[in-house]
């Protein structure tokens, strides 16, 4: 049943460029996919490790900026991707060492501050990041000689990365490591007493989370061929968190649904309602007050109730 559903979902996703009319919607579908990768990454920390981060747009942005710099220095796409992800992981290691000084609120505050530092560098260190004007790249790369210039081809390439991300998340959730991460969320002291190295588990979860955020940042850069401080603003971190919370944290489907929701509202609804930030804020408040567990578990609960009747 589950395998059948996944196969069907994959088939539908793969066919998106064929049945969705117009490049506008194919592009939105690509955006949903790479934001879903970001949301899945954030969910590792927020959902499984219980560490709420408001600085992940910083890591997303570091990957995008690093990739843009390496690319503009004239290197090929393999160097660009590995270089950008390495830079992201190094930055994430530093972030983690600092942020893991606190848990709960302390962690939130430190990640906000770290995100703001990245934003400050992106905005003010003009010789490095070109400030508010951002950095452009000359075109999308062509891995293995395949050009990604058309929206459909870019979508399919993103879909492949997305599927790998989902599989890695499924493995993570089912693995002993995933269980130990959830253990540090629920019973850190007991985990410590049982001989687990709680700090190291959280640190590795942070790196795993950062890796996928970096991958999403890379795809973001390839998609837009441009990166600016907007990508690392607090709003961007908040959007990533909203995707996880709205869809349902600690589930596999939740962040994906949440990413779809946020990207759709942002792109489609903002064509009708100009006040995107107001809508974003209102969704935050409404979800927290009315459906704190998120959309996917919330709907599942409703479905169970309907079926049980």
């Amino acid at each position: 049943m589950r395998r059948l559903a996944s196969t069907a979902a994959l088939a539908i996703l793969a066919a998106v460029p064929l049945w969705v009319g117009g490049t506008f919607y194919v592009n939105i579908a690509s955006q949903i996919l790479f934001y879903a990768i970001l949301a899945l990454g954030v969910n590792v920390l927020v959902g499984h490790a219980g560490l709420v981060t408001l600085g992940h747009a910083g890591l997303f942005g570091i990957a995008a900026y690093a990739a843009a710099k390496i690319m503009n220095a004239g290197y090929g796409h393999v160097t660009v991707a590995t270089g950008a992800l390495l830079v992201t992981l190094v930055a994430a290691a530093i972030f983690a060492v600092l942020a893991l000084r606190g848990t709960g609120l302390g962690f939130v505050m430190i990640t906000v501050a770290l995100g703001q530092i990245v934003w400050g560098v992106a905005y003010r260190w003009i010789s490095l990041t070109n400030g508010d004007n951002g950095i452009s790249i000359t075109g999308r790369p062509s891995p293995l000689g395949l050009s990604l210039t058309t929206p459909a081809r870019f979508y399919w390439a993103t879909l492949i990365v997305f599927v790998i991300a989902v599989i890695s998340m499924a493995i993570f959730v089912a693995s002993p490591f995933g269980a130990s991460v959830r253990g540090t969320r629920d019973q850190p002291r007991r985990m410590n007493a049982l001989g687990y190295h709680v700090w190291m588990i959280r640190f590795l979860a942070f790196l795993f989370s950062a890796f996928w955020s970096g991958v999403a940042g890379l795809l973001y850069l390839y998609y837009n061929q441009f990166v600016s401080p907007q990508a690392v603003a607090l709003t961007a971190s908040a959007e990533a968190l909203l995707m996880v919370i709205a869809g349902g944290s600690a589930t596999l489907l939740g962040p994906i649904v949440g990413a779809g929701l946020v990207v759709l509202i942002k792109n489609v609804a903002s064509g009708y309602i100009e006040r995107w930030n107001f809508v974003l804020g209102a969704i935050f408040v409404a979800i927290v007050v009315f459906m704190p567990e998120g959309l996917v578990p919330g709907v599942a609960r409703l479905a169970r109730r309907v079926r049980g009747r």
Binding site: R101, L105, G106, V121, W125, A238, R275, V285, I287, P292
Partner: protein, 286 residues
């Protein structure tokens, strides 16, 4: 030489403003454990209210008072209607206050447009005052003085009054405070309003030197966070010291390393976090 004096005066001014802003944040955080990410919005909202009040013929100080009170009322409503339901749920509080800050920012953009609005310096405080043979901008001196007066008043309120004793009890041990008959929930509303009022008031008196524009909230919030992390939450002395440290780092960082001003600002905070996670004055009494 002159440049350093100017920088120092600017630092002290910013420190004073930050103290007003972060003292409220610190109180709310210390007492209610609410990381109020809408605190920067309170600051901006106060400033915007004042611009409208002044445009309707209010004098500056009346606008500062009323503007602050309007923000306090808004804070009280938010606390009563929303935050009250989320007691103890930290993540929910982060999300709600963040959501509110986005909504406030957008409403401000809609009502007051995106153009920066200047608040005129109050008439009696224009020009310069000469002190120790040097000329200082009078208004900046006044802000520093106001911060000192507020620091003293807050200290007296917390240390010398019954309300202050209840607040301190609430910060130290909320459940015990409840047991001895303190109505902690009413106390929460009072403290939240007080914090919002301080932020709104700071926004108004900061108006003449910062001017009022969209994004002011996102600019002030991280500064307040740094102050509270540096100084330690719930500590008035921590807010005071932290504010002036941040004021100096910000202005001197801006002048000496313009591209890395933000790094200069946040680095000491990170060092403090690593060495002393609870902040410089973290566990001391208020």
């Amino acid at each position: 030489m002159n440049l350093w004096v100017v920088l120092a005066v600017n630092s002290i001014t910013l420190g004073g403003l930050l103290f007003l802003l972060s003292a409220g944040f610190s109180l709310i955080f210390g007492l209610m454990k609410i990381p109020n990410l809408a605190h920067g919005s309170f600051f901006m909202l106060g400033a915007y209210f004042a611009t409208s009040l002044i445009a309707r013929g209010f004098n500056f100080w009346a606008a500062a008072l009323v503007g602050g009170l309007l923000v306090a009322a808004f804070g009280g409503i938010v606390e009563r209607l929303i935050l009250r339901r989320l007691a103890g749920a930290e993540l929910a509080q982060v999300l709600v206050t963040l959501g509110l800050s986005f909504m406030v920012a957008d409403v401000c953009l809609m009502v007051w447009t995106g153009d920066p609005i200047r608040i005129d310096t109050p008439r009696g405080l224009r020009g310069a005052t000469s002190l120790l043979g040097l000329g200082f901008p009078t208004y900046r001196l006044a802000i520093s003085l106001i911060a000192v007066i507020f620091a003293a008043a807050l200290w007296a309120l917390l240390d010398r009054t019954r309300l202050g004793a209840m607040i301190r009890a609430g910060v130290d041990d909320p459940s015990m405070a409840r047991v001895v008959g303190i109505r902690v929930s009413r106390l929460f509303t009072i403290v939240f309003c007080l914090g919002a009022w301080l932020a709104g008031f700071a926004g108004v008196i900061g108006g003449p030197i910062l001017s009022v524009y969209p994004g002011l909230d996102q600019e002030m919030l991280p500064l307040a966070l740094v102050v509270v992390i540096l100084g330690g939450s719930g500590s008035l002395l921590g807010s005071l010291v932290g504010s002036f440290v941040v004021g100096f780092l910000y202005n001197f960082g801006q002048a000496m390393f313009p591209e890395l001003a933000y790094v200069v600002l946040f680095l000491p905070m990170l060092i403090v976090l690593v060495v002393r996670p609870q902040g410089l004055f973290g566990r001391q009494a208020l």
